[in-house]
Amino acid sequence: MNKVNLSIEFEMGYCNGYMQCKVLNNDKEIFDIKNNENKILKLDFTTDWPTILRFELTNKDPNRDTAIDENGNILENKYMWLKKFAVNNLPLNEPNLYKIAVFAGKNEIFWDRNETATIELTEDTPTRWLLSLNNVIYLREAP
């Protein structure tokens, strides 16, 4: 059994529209996000394991799609921000999001340029992959 359910969530930054993004799973296109209208983008799908996910980002005009005030503070920005990544419902800890996402050659979860991000789902099983990431899960609330 090598099928897994992936659940990926992005915060979408708006400035003259949203980022557009093609999502490729093992080089096959599975999403072509052109008409997103929400601040949160959720992608839920089933895939074989292991695999490589590629996110090809477009629609960012660097001269137009980041609004700043006279002090250089960003007022509006067009971006995709990886907020959640869950494999078979088990979420990655935030530090692990940085470990798995490579954007324009660097470990980065804030994607604000027309570049490609990749996430490699390696190891034989999700269990091995999550353990290799030290993705400890504490389900102990204070008494």
């Binding site: 269990t127 353990l131 504490y138 389900l139 102990r140």
Partner: protein, 468 residues
């Protein structure tokens, strides 16, 4: 060929047989379902014993700690896959994980997660004391969250004998199935004897069969959370317990038994029936064919534990785990153990006279103890070093304030303060000027002093890990 349900324990348990899978197997088979058992906790313990980095397995189970320099992630992943294979070999429709304590939580979560990946059609249900963070606590976050995440399908709170059968009958409305509430079983004699047929007794360093003769306790010690879980004391008849012992001897040729309970001598009448039957059984047999047992034992005065009782205990080859808790009389009586120090001395003297093995369960640094009490305790043991050869073990545990206990309610009266949400052994007594680190240092010096005086002392590993 598939089975309706496979019951398995989950680690971490230190190499002793887990009773619950055997109880549940017999109960559901009695009700017409097919069942298998596997004591995975014992298997994992053996794996840890035999692996050069076996302590990494224990650390993962207890703390979810992964040492990458030692390749612990791969060790754990291999182990999870190994356990999964062992489970799937039985082709179960339902998998029931029995969790003895919260030390089972991490491994259960990861194993369930992996099984759901490789065999998503198998339903997973968890139960046992470890389903909750604290047995008397109201928090069922762990079980609920695992269920929300789809890692398990259902959970059972409290006694599982009736609930498990109802679950197999698809009655999800039964009290205790996916609910924080549950009803304690009234008559423990109603059930068939536990079925250990699938157990591999080679997995245990000491071959011993667990027996449940009672649930709950006759005392109301303020530190204890068991009495909040099983609110009334339920016991089995002595005859039934003895018949079970004979049944297990006949099936497994094992003569050593461990009573799984809070105390063996809660009901003296039934207890003496068991003692008498074992005395009769052991009479005239070679030692290897005699019954022996260990169990928790409350101390009472001489009148209630007369010398004739000790003669029987000797013939029973008993090992008594005496719940002394504190040798400071006012502290011990205050916490709910209403016996004098004379009674402890009497028990030690009887143990020596009749060569009955005893171990002393000690709570080190109870909230009502002062620094002067600490010194008194040390002196008390030094003055009794003549008994050291007869005391198998002094089991020392740092005082823990468990959720839901009377002790927790009384903290302010004792001048105890602690941070919200902290672990149970982290607290300070401001009035007595006793901090966590002071108690920890005291524990170490207590152990050292006793060892110098010939006592064997064991301190719970987890306690030390949590403090250090």
């Amino acid at each position: 060929m598939s089975v309706d349900i496979l019951f398995s324990s989950t680690p971490w348990i230190d190499g002793t047989p887990c009773l619950a899978p055997a109880i549940l197997k017999s109960v559901v088979e009695h009700n017409g379902f097919s069942a298998k058992t596997i004591d995975l906790a014992a298997y994992v313990y053996q794996c840890a014993q035999n692996h050069p980095n076996g302590n990494q397995i224990q650390k993962f189970c207890q703390q979810q700690y992964i040492n990458f320099d030692l390749g612990a992630d791969k060790i754990i992943a291999d182990l999870i896959e190994d356990c999964t294979e062992k489970i799937l070999a039985h082709n179960p429709k339902i998998l029931g994980f029995s969790m003895l304590s919260q030390e089972s939580q991490f491994f259960t979560m990861w194993l369930s997660y992996h099984i759901k990946h490789v065999a998503p059609d198998i339903k997973i249900i968890i139960g046992g004391s470890g389903v909750k963070n604290f047995i008397a606590g109201s928090n069922i976050f762990y079980a609920q969250e695992l269920r929300n995440l789809g890692i398990i399908d259902d959970f059972i709170m409290g006694d599982g004998e009736h609930a498990m059968v109802e679950y197999l009958l698809n009655n999800r409305e039964f009290n205790g199935i996916n609910t924080p509430t549950w009803a304690q079983i009234g008559n423990l004699d109603d059930f068939p004897f536990p079925n250990f047929d699938d157990y591999n007794f080679d997995w245990y360093n000491i071959k011993s069969i667990p027996v449940c003769d009672s649930r709950g306790c006759v005392r109301k010690c303020e530190f204890c959370d068991i009495i909040k879980h099983w609110t009334s004391y339920k016991y089995r008849s002595g005859n039934s317990v003895f018949q079970e012992i004979l049944h297990q001897i006949d099936k497994h040729n094992i003569y050593n038994f461990s009573f799984y309970n809070s105390l063996t001598n809660g009901n003296m009448k039934q207890f003496e029936i068991i003692l008498d039957l074992i005395c009769d059984y052991n009479q005239g047999k070679v030692r290897t064919k005699q019954i022996s047992w260990d169990g928790y034992f409350i101390v009472r005065d001489q009148l209630r534990h007369p010398e004739r009782l000790w003669k029987k205990l000797q013939k029973n080859n008993a090992h008594l785990l005496l719940g002394v808790e504190s040798v400071v009389e006012h502290v011990r009586i205050g916490l709910g153990k209403n016996f004098k120090n004379d009674a402890i001395d009497y028990h030690l003297e009887m143990a020596k006279k009749y060569n009955v093995k005893v171990s002393l369960l000690m709570i080190v640094g109870y909230p009502t103890e002062t620094k002067a009490d600490f010194e008194f305790t040390k002196k008390w043991f030094v003055e009794r070093k003549r008994y050291a050869p007869y005391i198998k073990n002094v089991i020392a545990t740092l005082a823990a304030i468990l959720p839901g206990t009377e002790l927790e309610k009384n903290l302010a009266n004792y001048g105890v303060v602690r941070d919200e949400g902290t672990i149970p052994i982290m607290w300070q007594n401001e009035e007595a000027n006793i901090s966590e680190s002071y108690r920890y240092e005291y524990l170490l010096s207590f152990r050292s002093l006793l060892e110098q005086n010939g006592f064997f002392v064991s301190v719970d590993d987890t306690t030390l890990q949590e403090v250090t």
